[in-house]
């Protein structure tokens, strides 16, 4: 067959970047969202105050931040808290959250599913079941339709 003698460089061009009608999200200013305070959360876990640790871990979610390091750090903190919980304590912990808290918890849970580790999936599934009982399908839909990740 005839050999392709012309340049194939055009095949590597991302045509969507040049689409003048491409949809670009509104960029909210990255508020000073540093994610939850890891030190405070650590202290509370060591003291055994799991409820407070959860509430602190769910504060200041780095939603608007464009820095992936901050997001990684926040995810790690929340995952630590979630795995340190005893199975029987999960349900009352979820019940103590308000609507926004449950939605935020769901977002962290799904973020945790993306990178499974040794036993994180099992714990996350338990959390998912309890959070689903409170938040319903709506909370999962909100995770799926959110334009910015936690």
């Amino acid at each position: 067959m005839a050999k392709n003698t012309l340049s194939s460089r055009f095949r590597k061009v991302d045509i969507d970047e040049f689409d003048e009608n491409k949809f670009v999200d509104d960029h909210d200013e990255p508020a000073d969202q540093q994610g939850p305070d890891a030190v405070e959360v650590d202290n509370l876990i060591r003291q055994g105050d799991m409820m407070a640790a959860l509430h602190i871990a769910l504060r200041n979610p780095p939603i608007n931040s464009r820095n992936p390091a901050i997001k990684e750090r926040a995810q790690a903190v929340v995952l630590r808290v979630l795995t340190s919980f005893k199975s029987s304590d999960i349900e009352p912990a979820v019940k103590s959250l308000n609507k926004n808290g449950v939605d935020l918890l769901m977002r962290y849970i799904y973020k945790g599913f993306e990178r499974p580790t040794e036993n994180s999936s099992a714990i996350l599934l338990q959390w998912h079941e309890k959070a689903f009982a409170v938040g319903g399908l709506g909370s999962i839909v909100r995770v799926m339709t959110a334009r910015k990740t936690v």
């Binding site: 938040g135 399908l137 709506g138 909100r142 334009r147």
Partner: protein
């Protein structure tokens, strides 16, 4: 509440005539079928064949008895009844993507078409040329327009779009009407002006509705929320997240109460409290007759555990009247101020008519304010 199953295919869209004896609907193909009520049955009396693509929107003007339809073939037709036949008139919308929704204005001298071309075509009849002409509203729309609703003043138009925003535009056409009086949404209303743009909810806006006075607008978006905004110096927004699947259509039944329905296959009531600027869940409007709970034998329990890993006895059968998502809701009697009956059609090819008084008495705790 009555339910009639028209077809096996989804009903893409429907519209009622003025005295609610005839319904025009699209059976998920290129045609529009008009059914007439015949006692307890419905008989098909007309088939309107002109579109080359699926008909995505139908609206029936009550006073002038004209039907406007729009479809994925990028066209809209205005149908007038001549004797016993509906005659179409093509309207050139100048769009290059499918049309998605169409609505007559309250005075029926204009209609608006939302399309995938990221614009709204506002069409009016030009007497000199004996032809429908359209004007485009383009900025700042950035994605498909999914739903439209007119303000009672015939000028303002609410549009829900796939760019996650609900907006109110001015569709003032100086050729056919007078300058409008100021409203709660603003006083300067040149054509295409954005009077309001929503913030706070994400997700495609599937359904939008003005209240009867026009001072409030409600929209349902794909992130399972429903929101109401009230016009004023600064528009006040109140939204409610729900635990259900996303809602596809919403309508006001009184100034403070909304009914919405969607992928969960049953209509739901929401109540808006303007003093607190907050919305609350009013109740599920579809209480199925309680079927007798059969006891489960030990064998059935074990089988369930084996097959589905649960001992739950709930069968995978929907208990609601509609067996598939509800895609459109329309008011039959009473208008948006004191609705007495409303109608829902859905993907199960069925149409259900709901009586507000019966619902109120059937469900205690249901308060329609």
């Amino acid at each position: 509440m009555s339910y009639h199953s028209f077809l096996l295919e989804p009903i893409s869209c429907h519209a009622w005539n003025k005295d609610r004896t005839q319904i025009a609907l699209c059976p998920n193909n290129h045609e529009v079928h008009i059914y007439k009520k015949d006692g307890n049955n419905w008989s098909k009396i007309h088939v309107l064949k002109e579109h080359n693509g699926q008909v995505t929107g139908i609206d029936w003007a009550p006073e002038s008895n004209r039907i406007v339809t729009c479809g994925t073939d990028r066209n809209a037709y205005v149908w007038t009844l001549k004797g016993d036949v509906w005659k179409p008139t093509l309207v050139i919308l100048r769009i290059n993507r499918a049309a998605r929704c169409v609505k007559w204005s309250p005075k029926e001298n204009k209609f608006a078409v939302g399309s995938g071309s990221r614009l709204i075509s506002v069409c009016y009849f030009e007497q000199d040329n004996d032809w429908w002409v359209c004007k485009h509203i383009k900025k700042p729309i950035r994605s498909t327009i999914l739903c439209l609703d007119w303000h009672p003043n015939n000028i303002l138009l609410a549009a829900g779009s796939c760019d996650f925003k609900c907006r109110i535009f001015s569709a003032y056409i100086k050729e056919v009407e007078e300058k409008p009086a100021p409203t709660a949404w603003g006083s300067k209303m040149p054509f295409g002006e954005v009077m309001f743009e929503s913030t706070g909810t994400s997700g495609w806006v599937h359904g939008v509705c003005f209240s009867d006075s026009g001072n409030r607008v409600a929209w349902a978006s794909h992130d399972s929320t429903v929101a109401v905004a009230e016009g004023g110096k600064t528009a006040v927004c109140a939204s409610l997240t729900s635990e259900t699947l996303p809602l596809l259509c919403v309508t006001f039944i009184t100034e403070n109460s909304l009914v919405a329905a969607g992928h969960d296959c049953y209509p739901v009531l929401f109540v808006y409290d303007s003093n607190k600027a907050a919305m609350s869940f009013g109740g599920k409007l579809d209480v199925p007759k309680q079927s007798a709970q059969k006891g489960m034998t030990a064998r059935e329990r074990f089988q369930n555990l084996d097959k589905k890993a649960t001992t739950d006895s709930k069968e995978a059968v929907l208990e609601s009247v509609h067996k598939n998502s509800i895609s459109q809701i329309s008011i039959l009697n009473g208008g948006k101020a004191q609705c007495a009956k409303f109608c829902t059609t859905g993907m199960d090819g069925g149409m259900a008519i709901w009586d507000v008084k019966t619902l109120e008495s059937a469900m205690k705790d249901l308060k329609i304010v």
